[in-house]
Symmetry: C7
Subunit: 89 residues, 7 copies
């Protein structure tokens, strides 16, 4: 299945970071904060002055966008204005 | 009966996905999340830069649009901006 | 008495559909949902790109517009943008 | 005393309709709905495409405008966009 | 002390009208409605199409503007759009 | 330390007015109303049609702007549109 | 890791000021006000008329922006319009 975002939207896949407490305990999902990093999976028809491409790693605004399930994994369709920054490792 | 959406609206028909719990129990309607996929039944007078046509499968924003009944089935009249993505199987 | 809507407003008359429960009981008025279909009685000074005329049957947004009484029947003065679709039988 | 509305505002005087219940009882003021018809008393500096003049009978949006007292009678200063329709008897 | 309103604001001084009940009792201040008439004391730099000048008597929108004290009397700095009408005696 | 407001903002310093009750009691700070007069300390890059300069005394909208501490005194960074009037003694 | 803000956003690092009570007690983090000063770490693609650069010290609007963690230190991605002033020591 293939999802093509419309307009200036993106399909992103949140990067779930393992998180330990100070004491070294791995937290279950519900106790973690919402992830803020994501991988860009698919790009809609953005205007030229946006420099975001498939495969980029980005930081996105918490609670923005619409969650959908695709191949049993959580993805988000999100407006390009809710992408705050690009991450370069 | 024929319904012709006005302006940049669409008539869509939600695709109800059967959903089982992890334990294999089929959930009754009220326990399911709102469906997010739909089939485009009829298209209003969209501007040219929208690439959505009758028969497309789309993902739409939850709670958007107005539900109407047509031939005893639930349909939604929805603004094109609430169509988030196209789905290609 | 004659009512001429101003600007891009319409005068419409809701079509009250008789509604029975599954068991065949006719519901009293207060138990029915608000009707969503209406007949266009009078049209204001709409811009050209709206294709709505006297006598059209339309679907309108619930709770939109202002109810008025005319010849002892409920009518609604409504903005053309709250007309969602035209109905062709 | 003379009141000249500013900008695209009008001075209107609500038409109080006597109202009887089905059983023929005349309702006291507080039990009536807010009146929706009014006489146009004075017109501000409207743009040309509004066709409203002194002496017209109009329907106005409930709760719109500001009530003022003038010669011991209730009047309303109201924006022209809250005038919904003209009434012709 | 001299106060010069900035932009399209006015300095006005509400006209407190003595008010008696039907029985002839003069109401104390707190039992009166907010006054709606005022005298224009000072005018900011209004655009030309506003015809309001020092000394005009006006009707203003209740609760609009900011109250200030000047020479121990209550004045209001108010936006010109909250001036509803001019009063000519 | 020097603070330079950005865009059409100003740095102002509220003028705290001593206030006595009618009986002559000086009120403690918490019992006073918020001060509304201020001295303009620094001006951002205002457009030409604003006539506000360092050293002006102004009246500002209550609760507008952001309080900051500078040299142990309360100052406010405030948008020029929240400056209501200039005061000339 | 490198974070590049998109559009007219900045990456800033709040300057945590040690704060003592009047009695000389150092307050724990939760009892302090939110810091309002920050160092500009990285600048997005601002329009020319903004004069903000890497290394500037700025005052920013409380509660604005999105907190992210970078090298185990709290940073904020913030819109340039929420930068209130520049600080020059």
């Amino acid at each position: 299945m293939n999802i093509k975002p419309l307009g200036n939207r993106l399909l992103i896949k949140p990067i779930v970071e393992e998180k330990k407490t100070d004491g070294g305990i791995v937290l279950p999902d519900s106790a973690k904060e919402k992830p803020q990093r994501a991988l860009v999976i698919e790009v809609g028809s953005l205007e030229d002055d946006y420099d975001i491409n498939k495969g980029d790693k980005v930081i996105f605004a918490k609670f923005a966008g619409t969650e959908i399930e695709m191949n049993d994994e959580k993805h988000i369709i999100i407006d390009v204005d809710d992408i705050l920054a690009k991450v370069e490792d």
